[in-house]
């Protein structure tokens, strides 16, 4: 059993003179679902990008540890799964080719059994050999879940997870989130009540915008 912890210690993010959030702290030590809430423009996406190491906070520290050892930023990508509306997959490849390239570039084994299971769950198995450019926006969103979960990450970050999904797609996503939450830390950034209802604890980002420069 792996032990993954995420510790966000009083981080602040500014873009130029604009304060996005100030002194945000979060501690996730065991599998479960955490929520990040706030209206549009409140900094949810910026916050989750900071958690993934894509952008750095202006101050404060984010620590990811695996079995007590701090994960280096160069290795972080292998432990994180990420879904977001602004994530774009390669249109010129099929879904299967995309997933194979991701596994190779990550340097992890292409887990055929797990990928087939996820393709079936997200109703993409019959379309796995189609080019991504032929996919609808909902199918692309479902494929992003495969991208996020195929390497069995210990931390799954979902930014607006149900955007572009129909009702059956939403049900599938909630089912998979429930399964993953038994073994991984799930963070959902959303302003949708049905997403936040899954979370055991919700961090409201508007509470961390107290100071204007």
């Amino acid at each position: 059993m792996i032990s993954y912890t995420l510790n966000v210690d009083s981080i602040t993010k500014t873009f130029g003179r604009r304060l996005i959030f100030k002194n945000v702290s979060l501690n996730c030590e065991q599998p479960g679902i955490w929520g990040i809430a706030g209206p549009n423009g409140s900094g949810k996406s910026t916050f989750v990008k900071c958690l993934c190491g894509i952008i750095s906070p202006s101050s404060g520290k984010i620590t990811h540890t695996l079995n007590g050892r701090e994960i280096e930023s160069e290795e972080l990508h292998n432990h994180i799964g990420f879904v977001s509306p602004y994530l774009v997959l390669y249109d010129e490849f099929t879904a299967e080719e995309n997933l194979k390239f991701f596994a190779e570039i990550r340097g992890v084994k292409y887990n055929q059994a797990k990928i087939d299971y996820l393709l079936n769950e997200f109703l993409l198995f019959d379309r796995k050999k189609d080019f991504v450019k032929a996919y609808s926006s909902g199918m692309k969103q479902r494929l992003k879940f495969l991208f996020a979960l195929m390497h069995s990450p210990a931390l799954v970050i979902l930014d607006e997870p149900i955007s572009n999904l129909d009702n059956s797609g939403k049900e599938k996503v909630y089912k998979i989130i429930g399964e993953e939450a038994k073994k991984s830390i799930i963070i959902i950034a959303s302003n949708d009540d049905s997403d936040l209802a899954l979370c055991s604890s919700v961090l409201e980002l508007t509470n961390y915008k107290s100071e204007q420069f």
């Binding site: 993934c52 894509i54 952008i55 750095s56 160069e74 290795e75 990508h77 994180i80 990420f82 977001s84 602004y86 994530l87 774009v88 997959l89 390669y90 249109d91 010129e92 490849f93 080719e97 390239f101 991701f102 190779e104 570039i105 990550r106 340097g107 991208f147």
Partner: protein, 219 residues
């Protein structure tokens, strides 16, 4: 190995979209045709043809090598790369891709040039091959890191040659000098200093690129 996988992804993508290959080939054909038409029946000096060779190489590189990073940025897939690979892997993968592209491009230019320009006669093939090898490596390294910088900028098209010019100028100057020596039939030993400067340029560029790439790649 992961950088090789990234290279394979880029190669497969290029073979499907043919964006860089087509623009490089078209540029080579158009540039060499323009030179041929402008010369007409005039005889040009050997040195001038050697200089023009590297001018064609420089501008061809400017027309296609930025694609490595610009296409990721324009399509919005850079975030995906940031999520699956470390910065060093991304830079290595893109560099390998640009190395293959530069070598292929330079081989095509050299063959066309030799066939079409009577004045372009190399007497010391070893010296020219050395300059060709390390020159191509230098162009690939510089183009890759400059492409990474300009991919984040607004006016990518104009910025690329402008930013590349001061960085590639010392390289092009030393390559023109070595080509001149190769055309004169100068012994390899006499070109040691120029070859050493060329290798030093490559080593400095690759070290600086790996050191800076983390800051360029992440917002």
């Amino acid at each position: 190995m992961t950088s090789i996988a990234l290279f394979r992804k880029d190669l497969a993508s290029e073979l499907r979209t043919r964006y860089a290959i087509n623009s490089l080939l078209m540029f080579i054909i158009v540039t060499i045709s323009v030179i041929l038409f402008s010369i007409g029946n005039e005889k040009i000096s050997d040195y001038l043809s050697g200089g023009l060779f590297w001018v064609v190489v420089f501008f061809t590189a400017m027309s296609g090598l930025a694609r490595a990073f610009v296409s990721e940025e324009e399509r919005g897939t850079s975030l995906l790369l940031q999520l699956i690979a470390s910065p060093a892997t991304v830079f290595s993968g893109k560099l390998i891709f640009n190395l293959v592209l530069v070598f292929s491009m330079n081989v095509v230019i050299a063959n066309l040039y030799t066939a079409l320009f009577d004045a372009f006669v190399i007497k010391n093939l070893l010296l020219f091959s050395t300059a060709f090898l390390f020159g191509s490596i230098g162009i690939a390294i510089s183009s890759t890191v400059i492409a990474a910088i300009i991919a984040k900028a607004g006016s990518k098209g104009t910025l690329y040659p402008v930013l590349s010019f001061p960085i590639l100028l010392p390289l092009i100057l030393i390559l023109i000098e070595l080509t001149k020596m190769s055309m004169d039939g100068t012994a390899f030993e006499e070109g040691y200093i120029e070859v050493a400067v060329l290798i030093c340029y490559d080593v400095i560029m690759i070290s600086a690129s790996y050191l800076l790439f983390d800051f360029i790649w992440k917002d």
